[in-house]
Amino acid sequence: MKNLKLKSARAALDYSQQDLADKVGVSRQTINAIEKGDYNPTINLCRSICKVLGKTLDEIFWEDE
């Protein structure tokens, strides 16, 4: 399932996938895989992404009802 919340949060800060990847310390392909729903990140990576985007885990990774 695609993670559109992550994509929109990233776009809101005008970050490219590469920018976010560099700040989090992962590869661009990993961010791409998370956004496309091809990869489920660990809680540590989720926290790192949320910290960089200034969001909570719920805002980015919790599914809508």
Binding site: S27, Q29, P41, L45
Partner: protein, 378 residues
């Protein structure tokens, strides 16, 4: 400050090791050059006259010296003047008036090796210690002379009659009179030498290789340090899966080889080649899987530099493979030779490029589809 100091220590150590290694390699090269005298090939003609079944001269001698002890390929050439190796198929021993037999002696006149007839053409591997050697050429014109030679040099006394039986027809058909000029050659080529100097040189060459590898790693990493490649959690996961698939591929391949070996169904190459092939298959599966899942290149690796080095290695292997093919070193007696591993190396590096190209095509198409879908949603 600490990083700068570490860098200085590394550069100093690298230079020191490189100098030691270069000295070692020079020693090995000098040692090799010094050994040139031990590889020799002598060629000469000998006129032999046979009159009423007796050869004149009955025997001749050739001397040579071995400077360094070791294992040597020892081969004799034997052809009538004007004939070439190609004529061997049509040429019969009975076209001559005698059979050539040889004996190799060391300087204490101890017999080391003997052979006769067309068996002269077969290569022999001998372990020779430093010293003077000589080869005696005997020109045998009748069975009695052959029996005497065989009993003295080729076999035990009770085996002489069976050895003589094999040669009975040859001697019966020999010419009784005539002059023949024979072209003989003696080749003594070093196969393997035992030398501390050479071994030291080899070890130090490996050391230089390690130093150069370390230097290349430093050049190919973004932060120019020798730190290990960094992968993120998704890459680690995919690399683990790649290892698993590569392991099972190798397991299946070696299992299959074992079954083939036990059942003797197929035997198309020697063990070294098949072992190398199994390892290659494993590496190719691992590399292709990792590239396809974007987990091959580390975060701190410069992809273009690595790709260029891969391309150069691939081209070098291709050139070696072409050279081996031209020299006919790839197949021998319907068997693959270890030299064919260069072909597999070329294929392995080529597969990396093909996988990267296909992956790029698939990713571009998929991203375009996603973007299209996003635009439609908006």
């Amino acid at each position: 400050m600490k990083k700068n100091r570490q860098k200085k220590i590394f550069v100093f150590t690298f230079l020191l090791l490189a100098i030691i290694a270069l000295l070692g390699i020079s020693t090995a090269i000098l040692h090799k050059l010094d050994q040139e005298d031990d590889s020799r090939s002598s060629k000469w003609s000998k006129a032999v006259t046979v009159m009423n079944g007796m050869a004149d001269p009955g025997m001749s001698k050739v001397d040579f010296t071995i400077k360094t002890g070791g294992t040597y390929y020892y081969s004799y050439g034997w052809l009538p003047a004007g004939k070439t190796q190609k004529d061997l198929d049509t040429f019969l021993p009975s076209d001559l008036g005698f059979v050539t037999a040889i004996v190799l002696f060391d300087e204490s006149n101890k017999e080391i090796f003997a052979t006769a007839g067309t068996a002269l053409l077969a290569d022999t591997t001998l372990v020779l210690t430093p010293g003077n050697y000589h080869t005696e050429y005997h020109y045998l014109t009748n069975l009695a002379q052959y029996e005497a030679f065989a009993g003295k040099y080729l076999c035990s006394s009770y085996q002489v009659s069976s050895w003589a039986d094999d040669m009975k027809d040859t001697f019966a058909n020999l010419q009784k009179n005539g002059d023949w000029t024979m072209e003989y050659s003696l080749t003594v080529d070093e196969a393997e030498s035992y030398s501390i100097g050479y071994a030291t040189g080899a070890v130090l060459s490996i050391l230089l290789g390690i130093c150069l590898t370390a230097l290349l790693i430093m050049l190919f990493t973004k932060d120019h340090s020798l730190s290990s490649p960094k992968y993120d959690e998704r890459q680690e996961l995919e690399r683990g899966r790649g290892f698993r698939y590569a392991f099972f591929t190798m397991l299946c391949f070696f299992g299959m080889l074992f079954l083939f070996e036990v059942s003797e169904v197929i035997r198309f190459a020697n063990f070294e080649f098949l072992f190398g092939l199994g390892l290659f298959l494993g590496v190719i599966v691992y590399v292709v899987y990792c590239i396809w899942h974007e987990a091959y290149f580390a975060l701190n690796q410069k992809t273009p530099t690595v790709m260029i080095s891969f391309l150069l290695i691939g081209i070098a292997n291709l050139l070696i493979a072409i050279l081996n093919y031209a020299r006919g070193d790839l197949f021998h007696d319907d068997h693959f030779e270890p030299a064919i591993l260069n072909v597999f190396c070329t294929l392995a590096f080529l597969s990396i490029f093909i996988t990267m190209f296909l992956k790029k095509l698939v990713t571009d198409r998929r991203n375009a589809e996603i973007e299209e879908a996003d635009e439609e949603e908006e």
